[in-house]
Symmetry: C2
Subunit: 201 residues, 2 copies
């Protein structure tokens, strides 16, 4: 603002909110003001929820899911079929597939895709951890649910090469996923259909 | 989500974020995940900023601005002309007018507009407090910068009636403000022009 109209605390709140995906500088101002007016219903509870998430949320050391417990809710769920692992690029993809509710399996979050031009190599992704999980035994299927992009498919083929010696079924999502599309933006129905029609590599 | 994939803390954070203007349920999930990944740069600082705003921000007892001090930064600024009061509906309008940087005056936030159908009467707005400020003396101009809506104009005329006995110049924004438009959505240039061309009631 051109001149000081309020204390630095609100300015700082607005600046930080402007860095949240989905909010820009103008939306951040409106959001901050709305929160300040709804202190008891929104600002206070949100501050507490963020503080608790900041203190307690981390990534699962087994699968990479974001959770407050390690192993995470999914990895420690005895009603899930832990012999099927769905390999995804990002936690957001895990959440998107769970919303489709088409499989009751475990997950493995890679943390990205191979991208030599950006300097992202196999050691930057959780690929060796995936090989370790498979070599520990008990895994019968690996559904490689990476995005239908060049980087995603390159990463899928690299993983398949690494797992050539293991007796595990490797599958991919059916071509219901639009080419070049990102999982996180798809509707639940499309994701569910793509999981049901998954094919072998 | 169909099945538990993470602890209740993240679900709660997502639910609260979904109530922030500008974010919906899907954006809230993305925002929460982004914050969790950027704990040190974003989630931690934002939790702290919100907590501090929650503890320290209130409405100025003189003008109604949102600030950590009372009287607020504007009311206690000796370089502002406190003899000119800009009357606005909402704190967001105050901030929007300050961004236009066309006047160096004080403010008075009404907290809404008269709306008999919604049960909003004069006692629900900070109108008597405005009359008190004027009757205390030292005010030479009141710029009534309410929205160019029916409710805004009704409120303006009600205020003018209440101030009939005082020797104070009452002005309004020039017709640069689109009819039916809301101040908070206008660009700085339009707002600055509307302030410069303000006319007498
Ligand atoms: Zn896990
Ligand atoms: Zn004030």
């Amino acid at each position: 603002m051109a001149k000081k109209v309020t204390g630095p605390e609100i300015e700082r709140l607005i600046q930080l909110l402007a860095r949240v995906p989905g909010l820009g500088p103008r939306s951040a101002r409106r959001a901050a003001l709305h929160m300040i007016k709804k202190k008891e219903q929104l600002l206070g509870p949100l501050a507490a929820a963020m503080s608790e998430a900041n203190d307690r949320v981390g990534l699962c050391s087994t699968c990479g899911n974001a959770d407050t417990s390690d192993p995470c809710t999914i990895c420690s769920d005895p009603t899930r079929d832990q012999s099927v692992i769905i390999v995804v690029e990002d936690v957001s993809d895990l959440w998107a597939l769970e919303r489709a509710a088409a499989m009751n399996a475990a997950y493995h979050v890679l943390g990205g895709t191979l991208s030599p031009l950006d300097g992202v190599g196999p050691e930057d992704l959780a690929i060796s951890q995936l090989v370790d999980r498979v070599s520990a035994g008990g895994v019968r299927e690996l559904l490689i649910a990476v995005n239908a992009t060049v980087e995603g498919q390159t990463t899928a083929h690299y993983i398949i090469d690494q797992l050539g010696d293991f007796d595990v079924r490797i599958t991919r999502l059916a071509h219901g996923v639009p080419v070049g599309g990102e999982l996180d933006y798809l509707d639940e129905g499309t994701l569910a259909a793509a999981i049901r029609s998954r094919t072998s590599f």
